[in-house]
Symmetry: C2
Subunit: 328 residues, 2 copies
Amino acid sequence: MAEKIRIGIVGYGNLGRGVEISVSKNPDMELVGIFTRRAPEALSAYFDDTAVFAMNDLDQFRHEVDVLILCGGSKSDLPEQGPELAARFNTVDSFDTHARIPKYFETVDIPARAGKKTALISAGWDPGMFSINRLYGEALLPDGETYTFWGRGLSQGHSDAIRRIPGVAGGVQYTLPSETAIAQVRSGSRPELSTREKHVRECFVVLADGADAEKIRRTIVSMPHYFDEYDTTVNFISAEELAHDHQAMPHGGFVIRSGNTSDENAQVIEYRLALESNPEFTASVLVAYARATHRINQAGQYGAVTVLDVAPGLLSIKTPEQLRAELL
Amino acid sequence: MAEKIRIGIVGYGNLGRGVEISVSKNPDMELVGIFTRRAPEALSAYFDDTAVFAMNDLDQFRHEVDVLILCGGSKSDLPEQGPELAARFNTVDSFDTHARIPKYFETVDIPARAGKKTALISAGWDPGMFSINRLYGEALLPDGETYTFWGRGLSQGHSDAIRRIPGVAGGVQYTLPSETAIAQVRSGSRPELSTREKHVRECFVVLADGADAEKIRRTIVSMPHYFDEYDTTVNFISAEELAHDHQAMPHGGFVIRSGNTSDENAQVIEYRLALESNPEFTASVLVAYARATHRINQAGQYGAVTVLDVAPGLLSIKTPEQLRAELL
């Protein structure tokens, strides 16, 4: 076997932890360690033998790390770290503020090119695998419509909005694709659907002592922007049920392309993710793209790239010959 | 707009006709014409203004055609035409005999390299889009299992087998994924399933005058290799119903990857095609890959390639900047 691809993790929350686990499932990779802004000795990694280093020592590892996986957030971490680290390391990140991707691409591309490094940005599932499937759908069925549905998934912002209501002791909110809307889209009829029509909202709420359930239900379903335009159901549960049944971070959704190849024939392409852990799946995508990023850099292609620029075969541990024989 | 990509079609059956229609839906392409071994004047194309030429005149178009789409069969047409034409043209084909793909790749690769041409082989949906999804599934969830289901689709070989039974005046057979098996796979439980357990067979049969329906039903469901190991249902219909309801060529299926990103969390990725016309969808895939093949050749990459070697972005009419802004 060739030398292993040496991975470094920058930032250690749910995503970094997912990357740590994912690297262990890829036998052609090894984890150099986690780099953190916290005190390294204060960080408790998933595996006992995972090395933890101070972020300030990262430069000492310039020749020990093939790809850095950046596990910070898109709001403040990545806009700063992405361009800075891409000058000195191959990087993979999950920058997911859709509207700012073109700008972020530019800010990473320039230092990466200058440093002869490759920076793969915005990997994950949306942006990421959903983007790839929007592209394939459009290219294969140019006469058609694309529909993205999200869920069943935990929505952090909407859960926070519920918890701020007086009388609410705890709660979570899930976004679900509307079954009616999915059925319409699958039929090939190409309906026009707003985000509101495509999704429903489901809330699980723990009441504070003496709170009025019906009043809280009305407050939730009529909350402007968050709930008022959606079909929203509110379920009241106990604190024990909340702790037991609602601690996971499920997510997923559908990308459906519905199109016609002739006046007579409609075709439907559907891509679906059902994820028990959103951060662990995103982490697995980042790790597979780290393999591709290493190969792209070794082939002499420098600068920023996205998942749309990466041939599927580059993600696989298998050789092109194996892939043709076993998977094609 | 840049110059259009000039497409030639070799062979004109259902697939060639599908390519003819598909090219008309891609504004960056133009159809040079259909090349046929039949007498050109005897061929009736879908569009009145489509040019039809004799196969023997193909070499006169060496500088008029950017990509030839080969629409012959995998049994006898492509093994001969693929290597011969790849020496002189960029080509795209749908060679679909899975076991022979590695050998076919070699026989096309050598002349294509020598002639500085690019030959994309085995495009379509299986091999093709299903292969891509098998690869993505494996790469993203290395700790997992992949399941391919086919159907609901018309099976030509099984339909022929029914029609050969004495007393049968006509009939068709559809293969369907087993709903029970799909539910098991979607649950994330990673069942072991044979092809037989994953599919059921549905027959629509027209009886000849005086034929014994129950005897024919038993002959079908007990036919070795074809039906005896499957759950098979036989429906008797009239010749009018056969003509009216069973002339389409639907197909499709699922590729499902079920895997774990940690001991705690299962993840399911599902890719589904629901096709009203199998040949038209395959044709649309070939046409999108013709765009990519043209670009790959212009970038100086020669020889045989497969869909696994093609970055998604190369399939799109849009620029990389547009793709990042609109689809990522």
